[in-house]
């Protein structure tokens, strides 16, 4: 936590304490996670990584319009949580939601087509990158107003409670989100209603361009606040899918058994900028380098090799994913822009948009 300033209104990055990634924890190798689950998390991380790289390329080619917020570098969080929940559970993401959508098993083609604003897009071209949703996959939406979806995730958890299912709801959000009122309202509400909801903070150290520790009262924006709401302060290495999986598994178990909400703060880092073509120049070189060395995917690759998975199997996964990304790209490019009629549909349940007779 540093509020040192070289001059008024200007943060002195040189004075800020370095925030390197956690060192590799070989102890996580011993966690009792089935090997097939680990291989699945590897596959997911490959999917998210390769998809996001392609999304970036397509943005630079001006095929993805508007904006996009990539999860490059943060894949272990999405993969670890997705592997710990059931297909009928609910997830709620932010505008940085490609990864969380794909991690629920949503097809790459429709997601890519949505980024390109095509009629075969997941949302028919009406939502775009920031609103990816697939109700049939339990992916209840990507929300672009910071904080709101934490409150909405509570509602999905409440609904599961009322219907007597043991579904859980997961809300992903960033470090910067912990300073908006909705975050605090959501936590208190979830605790007093003992809702089966899991709040997962992806702490990538930055809001858009400002390091969040410069504007946050405590060093760990989510975990340090949790005890104020009677929750355990759970801090995990968000660049280690096993660590995330284990924390998520415990939280899910608690929620399913009626034990109420949990909060997990996963420390991670985005490899690129906040959005679009942001080069992320506001970040000190040493910091970026240190985190690139702790890229979650090569680390996990090595771990799987040590655990006895053949290099060939991992290569095969990479290649198969690469093929699917290519296919999705072709699918998206081949899809037409939405027809004019789409403009006026789906405001109301009757499929239309009439506001008068």
């Amino acid at each position: 936590m540093s509020t040192d300033r070289a001059e008024a209104g200007r943060y002195d990055f040189a004075l800020r304490p370095p925030r390197p990634p956690a060192p590799v924890d070989h102890g996580n190798e011993d966690l009792p996670i089935p090997l097939e689950t680990r291989v699945e998390m590897y596959r997911l991380q490959q999917e998210l990584r390769q998809f996001e790289k392609r999304a970036y390329d397509l943005f630079m080619q001006n095929l993805v319009k508007g904006t996009s917020h990539l999860s490059l570098g943060q894949e272990a969080v999405a993969a670890g949580v997705a592997a710990a929940i059931r297909p009928d559970d609910y997830s709620f993401a932010t505008y940085r939601g490609h990864a969380h959508t794909l991690a629920r098993g949503v097809g790459m083609g429709p997601v890519m087509a949505e980024l390109l604003g095509r009629e075969d897009g997941l949302l028919g071209g009406k939502g775009g990158s920031m609103h990816l949703t697939s109700v049939e996959h339990g992916m209840m939406g990507s929300y672009a107003i910071v904080g709101a979806h934490l409150c909405i995730a509570n509602g999905a958890a409440w609904s599961a409670q009322i219907r007597g299912t043991d579904q859980v709801a997961v809300a992903f959000f960033g470090d910067g989100t912990t300073n908006i009122g909705a975050f605090h309202e959501a936590l208190n509400f979830a605790v007093v209603w003992k809702l089966p909801v899991i709040f997962v903070c992806e702490n990538n150290l930055y809001m858009e361009y400002t390091p969040s520790d410069f504007v946050t009262a405590v060093p760990h924006p989510a975990a340090d606040r949790a005890p104020a709401y009677g929750l355990e302060a759970v801090l995990v290495d968000g660049n280690d899918a096993d660590a995330v999986y284990e924390a998520a598994r415990k939280a899910v178990e608690l929620a399913r058994s009626g034990g109420g909400p949990s909060l997990i703060e996963a420390m991670t880092y985005r490899h690129g900028g906040h959005s679009r073509a942001d080069p992320g120049k506001y970040r000190p070189d040493g910091e970026v380098d240190a985190w690139m060395k702790r890229d979650p995917i090569p680390m996990y690759h090595q771990r799987l090799l040590r655990l006895g998975v053949a290099e060939g199997q991992l290569t095969e996964i990479q290649q198969e994913v690469a093929q699917r990304v290519d296919d999705a790209t072709e699918y998206a490019k081949a899809s037409a822009p939405p027809g004019d009629a789409a403009l006026m549909t789906d405001v109301w349940a009757d499929g239309g948009s009439a506001w008068r007779n």
């Binding site: 949302l123 609103h131 909405i152 309202e185 959501a186 208190n188 405001v347 109301w348 349940a349 008068r356």
Partner: protein
């Protein structure tokens, strides 16, 4: 047949629907044990239990968010926002989340929820507890907006709002809570998007909403004594808007007056005025006149608040002056 006041009609309408749909739940501040700060939810906790009628913390975003999340996953909800002024602290939820969920997900998400809230002035509560803010919601695509003026309409439109698969913001008027009306026996279900001609007339059309309806009617009575036959229309729902009834009436009378409790700029009457001007302009016999609260925050003192909000006198005077 029974006589109920507007306040009791709220609970009556909700109870009717909670009996019909065992999944329907309701949440808000002080609504359960306390029966609501306006006593509009008295008896619901006793009949339906604490799982279905739930008190919340003072967290308007969490309230609307929870209602929305439950609604989009199979549980229809009623959320109470104690005073409509507080919509401002959860306007993101209402305007950006609830209203847009269906459209921006390509039709995947439905949010069958009702947001009930106590609206309007006349209670000497001052600028932050007296506003009429139905126009805030009217301007957002994806929201239906309802504001009944009588007990029977409260029940029927409440039922229609709850049964509607889209989000509805339901404005209950604070100054109407004590007004009484006859309630027919049996289930009452009305239709959204229907205005009511509450008094027939031939010389001018006075369009009003909620508390402005009884005032428009009182003015019409006095106008009749002067030989001016005013037709009074209770808009009842702003979205969907029953333009057929409004345009038909103006085409017949040739004169339009809107009576709005909102401050002047962008009140709902401006929208009705523009529709009338675009579509039945040649049927008009004189300028359209909007009677509104002036563009000021509402003051608290009795004398000033009464001066601000359109009164029957002001409606009467305005019509006489412009038709004279």
């Amino acid at each position: 047949m029974a006589e109920l006041n507007y306040r009791e009609a709220v609970a009556h309408g909700i109870a009717q629907e909670m009996r019909r749909d065992p999944l329907l739940v309701m949440l808000g501040e002080d609504i359960a044990d306390a029966g609501g700060v306006f006593k509009t939810t008295v008896g619901l906790l006793d009949e339906f239990g604490p799982e279905r009628v739930r008190d919340t913390p003072i967290s308007e975003q969490a309230i609307i968010g929870a209602a929305a999340g439950a609604a989009m996953t199979g549980i229809p909800t009623i959320a109470e926002i104690m005073f409509s002024d507080f919509i401002a602290v959860c306007f993101d939820m209402i305007a950006n989340e609830v209203a847009k969920a269906r459209y921006m997900t390509g039709g995947q998400i439905s949010v069958p929820m009702v947001i009930r809230t106590a609206n309007g002035g006349g209670s000497r509560f001052g600028a932050q507890h007296s506003q009429s803010v139905e126009n805030w919601c009217m301007m957002i695509p994806g929201l239906k907006v309802v504001a009944p003026s009588t007990p029977v309409d409260v029940i029927g439109l409440m039922a229609a709002s709850i049964r509607d698969p889209d989000p509805v913001v339901f404005f209950e008027h604070k100054s109407l809570f004590a007004t009484k009306g006859e309630i027919p026996d049996g289930e009452i279900v009305d239709t959204l998007g229907t205005a009511a001609v509450v008094r027939q007339g031939t010389d001018c059309t006075i369009v009003a909403l909620a508390l402005m309806v009884p005032r428009a009617l009182e003015a019409a009575d006095r106008l009749a004594e002067d030989g001016i036959s005013a037709e009074v229309i209770d808009v009842r729902t702003l979205v969907p808007l029953d333009t057929e009834t409004l345009l038909g009436s103006v085409a017949k009378t040739g004169r339009l007056y809107t009576v709005e409790e909102n401050p002047r700029l962008c009140g709902w009457g401006a929208e009705i005025t523009s529709i009338v001007a675009e579509e039945v302009f040649w049927d008009l016999d004189g300028p359209i006149v909007r009677i509104t609260t002036p563009h000021v925050p509402l003051p608290s003192a009795e004398a000033l608040e009464d001066l601000a909000i359109p009164s029957a006198d002001r409606v009467y005077d305005t019509v006489v002056k412009s038709m004279g």
